[in-house]
Symmetry: C2
């Protein structure tokens, strides 16, 4: 069934089964999306000048709104909820083509429409959403300032209420408050959602967002607005990023996106959320979809590169060898397998994790019942997966470029464009390092809560097993993972390294021990005299380790659950090995830690490398189906090196 | 004295002393070069179209030939030896600006003139060198073929002698023999040095090189020649790479670059080197200067990025903290220190190593007395340092881009251009993975030789210490390193981790043990029945490990020797810490290995991270002088983000 919906008629049976498994609960939506995407015009000519690229991208975006999925999931009006699933699947689909189009679409529909839809109220939604959907209005999401990137709470732009005229005055008080790196601000945007400090009757109420017009129909800056084009970038050349500053720009009161806080007709500030801090995080929390989409898009970009490099390695021969007088296929070199196959494994792992994240987002934002804890988990998971997926995409694409040698550097083979476009994914929608810190902060908060309760009940004094299980409960592990971990706890060293329960125990222990010891060190730092900043600053590396340990465990858990749901016997066998390749690669990267913390013997640690090589050899014959399973139709790769 | 020669009048005293130390025996040449470089036109406008970029690069190269160092060191005629030091210093200088210019210069002077000068005889040198120097002739180095990148011995282009007409016939027998990725072939080249299989009287004599005209004065392909433009690339957009194929192109006999083998007037093949294999490697060996230059250039590119990111981290504040209400300077975050300062340390380490490599090249190629072993060491060291320096440049520049956040992605801040231009350095002049394999192969050859002798003398049965010392002798360690290692051998665990002798022992042991165990496994593989390719293929990872262990030890040794020669007390103190930061970072990356092989206790292994943090904190106050010491004049960085 699914096969009929894809543009690839030539998949191997195994490839098709792998693809369906990896697509998971989104299999139908994704297959339909792939079948319907207008694919004639997927990739951009790299020789375009910047102005040509921007125009091409805008034209392509219009095409994808009219005949494609670009605006899928965006509500038309106040009455509609919109579809989070529709949006993320559309974003993934767009990521199969030129990423400037994807990002321009993300700016317009994810960020701009997202802010109007989530932070605005009925009037904003009814007045603007349809015009945003149709690209009648192109908009900016003006959050970042020159002086304030990651630190959104310190924004300096002011939004001051003037009761005399019933207007807001939007102002850039210092050059550092200039909005910067804003998509659509360089050229095409006619409105912007501007984030700034709300001031009512000389009182500050923290960061709020307001909708302002910035350009007239001829594309000129409106009075009080100064935009500037930030020009050429290291990638995404088709997106017009720019700066915006305001000189006492006046807009009517109703332009404030006042769902969580606004000014009533009497000029008084009102909000349903009392704590300014909580209000801020609630507002920012609604924008989580951007991170979910960026993560999903980076995952697809990595899959495109991995597909190109692996397919090339199945064609290209180099150096004759005994019994191989025509030269050895690149993928028959163990060193080449060790470069590419772990990327395939991690790509699947992150794909299953993305499914899990998408599902959580659909639950929280799709109108179903959900708790505050769900919302918090969504934010943490989105921040974390965005960080590790975009980092992975960057390093994987570089490896793929190098694995294709000189050919990989030719623009016609797509890898360098992918690589340079994905670069900034590591920074926008949250700097990856800052996001990892945020993950750990959130974990420690949850930890403190659960741990405090345990402590009162005296459970912390109980057996290691009870503590371990409680942590797992706290950290949202699946029942399957819990079961495996418990089973392994008795005699871990008796288990094979490819044994799922041993792997489960290692992933869990890395997370549990590192978060516990960090919590201890944090408590000590808080109690210390002297410079409090320095005391916690010293824990910087530990903070990042905890985030990674948590995220790797979650990714492992998602992969585990994904394989568990695979009904196809052959696909399942291959996925079992692939899961081991992912798991052991992750453990291998920290094997010093496991030995240092007595979780692994040196004999076992030393044997991981050989085990990874064995897994690569076992998976080598399935390389093509594995790449097919990644879901990128071969015809869409557009790499000349695969043609001959 | 040196200070007066630099364009930076504002260096700190410490910065100036560090710069002089890092410049080492090339301090005067480099300082003079920096003072004389025409620096008005260093960087290229990133919005140029590809044709504009190519023209700009050609114009700039002409400027740098007339008024700058581009052709420095290239001989004018047969009587001159040329200056290897002049060439590598010129290449470094050019690497301070647009890298397309650097590479176009490298193609012309390093590769094309290098082949004519090193493989040609008197007539070629007298006829062509001056015209190449003046850019009257722009030339190609046509080695790589579509089907044969790293595997040069398998080239399929034929150079067949026709005794009837006393000519050579250059021919492309199959599409895979098309010359590809050739600089100057896309547009500007009028001649090419073509590598192919020499055939005389139906007998093959292996790969030789011949000089052929490819385009007429109007830029049209000559009869028998077909060039094609390979168009847009992921970087180095100003270099015109292209393909060349030949259809029975005839050139006079004297065009063969016949220093190591040619055809005499009677139509007989003659060569001073009997073994075809040895002849091939002798010819290729003369071209080692290209690798030395690429390594040097990549080192400079990395320094430019590290200078930008570190200077930015000394200006940029983000997130307020207790006692830091204006925000914390990025470089005061330990996580940021841990990202950037190890790059500074490694950059110094590789810089000292590059000095060592340059000196060896000057010795071997500069007319002084030298042995075959020197030549072999030069080739191994050049291959290895090229590999690790270009890999470092790529990853360092990416880290620097990310460390500058969104600003790092704007082309005006230079990091993305550096990053995309340096990308291909990992592939050209030898794929980095293949080069590491070559290093290990060469080490095993030397090892076998020394070890064979030791074995006959019964020394292998002697104490570990004797064996260790012999290996050090074999592997070309400095006297200083030998002394330190011997001192540490007695009670290594009693030494501090910042103790130089402990570090020396660790670097030496990693190299010694890994090469010994590989040699054992290789012997076993050679004796095994079954598929010989698979038997050695399985050792792929071990092969790469050995190369890295050897190279890291050599880099450590060069850093050690460099610091030892530093007369300035304050600079020396800082460099001592920097050397520890490099050394412990290198050991940290393999700390699992050290524990697994009983070279390090788990307690010590576990403590390395804290030690790295301490070193970063201690070096933090010296960040600016350290960056000044990297030698890139601030005014040349051209990054807008440093202006405000």
């Amino acid at each position: 069934m699914t096969l009929l919906l894809t543009p690839d008629q030539s998949l191997t049976t195994l490839g098709a089964a792998l693809r369906t498994t990896l697509d998971g609960s989104f299999a139908r939506a994704r297959a339909q999306g792939r079948a319907a995407l207008p694919a004639d015009n997927l990739l951009r000519d790299p020789t375009q000048t910047m102005p040509e690229a921007r125009q091409w991208v805008l034209d392509r975006l219009r095409e994808l709104v009219e005949h494609g999925p670009a605006a899928d999931g965006v509500p038309h009006s106040a009455g509609e909820l919109g579809s989070p699933q529709g949006q993320v699947v559309a974003f993934e689909l767009l990521s199969h083509g030129d990423l400037s189009v994807t990002i321009k679409s993300g700016v317009q529909f994810g960020l701009f429409a997202g802010a109007v839809g989530n932070l605005g109220t009925e009037w904003h939604r009814d007045t603007y959403l349809e015009r945003i959907r149709s690209l009648d209005i192109l908009g900016c999401f003006a959050m970042t300032e020159l002086g304030h990137g990651s630190d959104v709470q310190s924004l300096e732009t002011t939004i001051t209420f003037d009761p005399e005229t019933d207007e807001f005055v939007v102002h850039t008080p210092v050059p550092a408050a200039t909005k910067a790196y804003i998509g659509n601000a360089g050229l095409h945007g006619s409105m912007a959602v501007v984030f700034g400090q709300l001031v009512v009757s000389h009182q500050r109420h923290g960061v709020h967002a307001i909708l302002v017009p910035i350009r007239d129909e001829a594309g000129r800056d409106l009075p009080g607005v100064t935009t500037a084009d930030q020009g050429h970038k290291g990638g995404l050349v088709g997106v017009d990023n720019g700066t915006i500053s305001f000189d006492q720009l006046r807009v009517p009161r109703r332009m404030l996106l006042d769902r969580y806080g606004g000014v009533d007709a009497d000029g008084r500030y009102t909000s349903s959320i009392e704590s300014p801090n909580r209000r801020f995080f609630t507002m920012v929390g609604t924008l989580v979809r951007g991170r979910v989409c960026i993560s999903a898009g980076a995952g697809i970009a990595a899959r495109r590169g991995i597909s190109i490099a692996t397919r090339y390695a199945l064609k290209r021969r180099q150096f004759p060898a005994p019994g191989r007088s025509n030269g050895v296929l690149l993928l028959d070199y163990l060193t080449h397998q060790r470069r590419l196959l772990p990327l395939v494994a991690r790509s699947y792992a992150l794909g299953f994790a993305q499914n899990n994240l998408n599902e959580l987002m659909v639950k929280v934002q799709g109108g179903a019942a959900h708790t505050d804890a769900d919302q918090r988990e969504l934010e943490t998971w989105a921040a974390g997966l965005k960080s590790i997926t975009t980092s992975f995409a960057n390093s994987a694409l570089q490896t793929c470029r190098e694995a294709c040698g000189g050919a990989g550097f030719m623009s016609e083979n797509q890898l360098t464009a992918l690589r340079s476009d994905v670069d900034i994914f590591a920074t926008f929608e949250g700097d990856n390092t800052v996001l990892l810190q945020l993950v750990t902060k959130s974990l420690l908060g949850d930890y403190r809560q659960v741990w405090g309760e345990l402590d009162r009940a005296g459970v912390v004094q109980a057996t290691a097993r009870a503590v371990g299980d409680s942590v797992m409960e706290w950290s949202g592990a699946s029942v399957l993972l819990e079961r495996l971990t418990s089973a392994a706890r008795r005699q871990p060293d008796q288990l094979a390294m490819v044994d799922r329960s041993w792997q489960a125990l290692m992933f869990t222990e890395r997370e549990r021990h590192s978060v516990e010891s960090l919590a201890r060190r944090m408590r000590a730092a808080a109690k210390s005299d002297g410079d409090h900043f320095e005391a916690s600053n010293r824990l910087g590396d530990h903070v990042l380790f905890v985030a990674r340990a948590y995220l790797e465990r979650r990714v492992f858990d998602a992969f585990l659950t994904g394989v568990d749901g695979c009904a196809d016997r052959e696909a399942r066998q291959v996925l079992e090995r692939l899961l081991s390749l992912y798991a052991l690669s992750s453990l291998d990267a920290d094997r010093a830690w496991f030995v240092e913390h007595n979780r692994m013997s040196t004999a076992r640690s030393k044997a991981i490398g050989e085990q990874l090589s064995s897994l690569c050899r076992e998976l080598r014959p399935h390389a093509l189906p594995l790449v097919e399973g990644l879901g990128i139709p071969e015809a869409w790769l557009g790499a000349r090196l695969l043609e001959s």
